[in-house]
């Protein structure tokens, strides 16, 4: 990247995570610069979602360091126990800088779409309500569901819900956006509308980490592809390079299976 700032947007070193005896991530290290759109690919069980969830501490890693724009999560560990987040205030701050879009949208069902968008800005970031509403309305306009502002999530299609969820993530004014298989729960005809919104975000230079099965998105939109296999990064590079000339045999099999 040109003009890459001194501190990368996300820096991960020596990340390890196990569930019981099963080791999901084996010492993962990589960093993503500001403005990079990184697609994280891998078969299910490869650890890609766990990796993403470690970045905002929905999963607390067993070992390793994660920093967001140069600020590392502070963790503490009593001997014999799993590590825990040491500083709740810092956690809150870093979480609002790296917001997540979930596979199953997870909009708050008792709030209208507009209320979903302003909920965290008003009650977590303590910003002024009027300002948040104005910003939320502009975001809904951007993702094309301005007319749904007073509807409840249950009254929207999956694609509309996911676009609302992306707007909710944007309403936090994040520095990084994390997408956890954002189109996997959608009917095929609804995938395109969500991908279009994501494409627009990428085009405007946002830092995005996207766990996805959409080979088209990985190839055409992202400017970097990571391929995970059994908790290790097996492939890392520009999509053109990795898709046309994969180093890893696993990745070769993976893309042929996905017709990419």
């Amino acid at each position: 990247m040109m003009n890459a700032p001194l501190a990368p947007a996300v820096k991960i070193s020596g990340l390890e995570k196990s569930y019981g005896a099963y080791k999901v991530l084996h010492s993962i290290s990589f960093s993503a610069n500001q403005g990079e759109v990184v697609s994280i690919l891998g078969a299910s069980g490869s650890g890609k979602s766990t990796l993403l969830r470690c970045i905002n501490m929905l999963e607390v890693p067993d070992a390793g360091e994660i920093s967001i724009h140069g600020e590392s999560y502070r963790l503490t560990q009593r001997s014999g126990f799993a590590p825990r987040v040491a500083d709740p205030k810092q956690l809150l701050r870093l979480r609002s800088q790296a917001t997540m879009v979930f596979q199953s949208f997870n909009l708050w069902s008792h709030l209208t779409i507009l209320e979903n968008l302003i909920e965290a800005p008003v009650h977590v970031q303590k910003r002024k309500r009027a300002e948040c509403v104005a910003e939320a309305e502009a975001l809904l306009e951007r993702v094309g569901i301005a007319d749904k502002r007073d509807f409840y999530p249950a009254h929207l299609s999956g694609g509309q819900q996911q676009r609302a969820a992306i707007a909710r993530a944007l309403a936090m004014r994040p520095k990084i956006m994390l997408f956890d298989e954002p189109t996997s729960a959608l009917d095929p005809e609804l995938v395109a509308e969500v991908l279009k919104v994501m494409r627009d975000l990428a085009a405007e230079g946002r830092t995005m980490l996207v766990v996805t099965h959409e080979m088209g998105f990985a190839r055409d939109v992202s400017n970097r592809v990571l391929f995970l296999h059994k908790g290790l990064i097996e492939e890392d590079g520009h999509p053109e390079q990795v898709f046309s000339n994969p180093k890893s045999e696993r990745f070769r099999q993976f893309i042929s299976k996905h017709n990419a």
């Binding site: 905002n56 709740p88 956690l91 917001t99 979930f102 997870n106 708050w108 909920e119 977590v124």
Partner: protein, 239 residues
């Protein structure tokens, strides 16, 4: 022969017991709810001893008859001379407070499980999203969990309050002159139990009709998220 004017007469007389019945309901439901929230929090806590304590409490108060609990409190507590010296005695020697206490302790056990069920019904993904957006602790409970849990538990809780209205009748066995107590007194004066119990039953029916209507209204107001928006239905559009 059913004597309608007599039933009406009894109905009017028994109405003077309604304030006491309602008072017992209000005091015990309100204090029982506070205790129930604490018990539900204990049941949901990740610290096993707290959970166990709440389980034992609920097991005992759900597993024994309210009448037995009422008698044990009213007749049993005075057996402890130590208790007679504490500040609690002026309350506990009153039948009114014994009845309120028994009703409150009993409803707390049932309500705790209703609350727990409501909290567990909030989808895990929505709680996770709230955490991912920086919410935690009290903000998470107040903004995300409580509103949805409340909506879920209302039908079950309205049931519990209706049961409480009827349970106050047991207070008559420890000298309380609420609706049933008055009915018993009237029967011993007139020897006409059928008409008088019909009148008493009608009063409970009326009270519970009002209670269930209030809960229905409350439920309706809280379920906007489940309803179809009116103007869309009118436009014939599908959701």
């Amino acid at each position: 022969m059913i004597d309608l004017p007599f039933i009406y007469d009894a109905f009017v007389q028994l109405c003077s017991g309604i304030p006491l019945t309602l008072q017992l309901v209000a005091v015990s439901v309100a204090s029982g709810a506070v205790l129930a929230i604490a018990l539900a929090a204990m049941r949901l806590s990740s610290w096993p001893p707290l959970d166990l304590l709440a389980r034992i409490y609920i097991f005992i108060f759900r597993g024994t008859p309210l009448l037995v609990q009422l008698y044990l409190i009213y007749y049993g507590l005075s057996q402890f001379p130590e208790l007679r010296k504490t500040f609690l005695w002026p309350f506990l020697r009153e039948a009114y407070w014994c009845a309120a206490l028994a009703l409150a302790l009993n409803t707390a056990a049932y309500s705790a499980e209703i609350i727990r069920g409501g909290v567990l019904s909030v989808p895990a993904g929505q709680i996770e999203a709230a955490r991912a957006y920086g919410m935690g602790g009290f903000t998470l409970i107040r903004r995300i969990i409580a509103p949805q849990a409340l909506r879920q538990m209302l039908p079950g809780y309205s049931n519990e309050v209706i049961l409480m209205v009827k349970s106050t009748a047991l207070a008559s066995t420890i000298t309380m002159m609420e609706v049933t107590g008055l009915a018993a007194k009237l029967i011993s004066a007139t020897y006409r139990p059928v008409e008088i119990f019909i009148a008493a039953g009608a009063i409970y029916l009326l009270l519970n009709f009002i209670v269930s209507r209030l809960f229905k209204l409350f439920e309706y107001r809280l379920s906007a998220a489940q309803r179809q928006p009116l103007y869309r239905r009118a436009a014939g559009e599908n959701a």
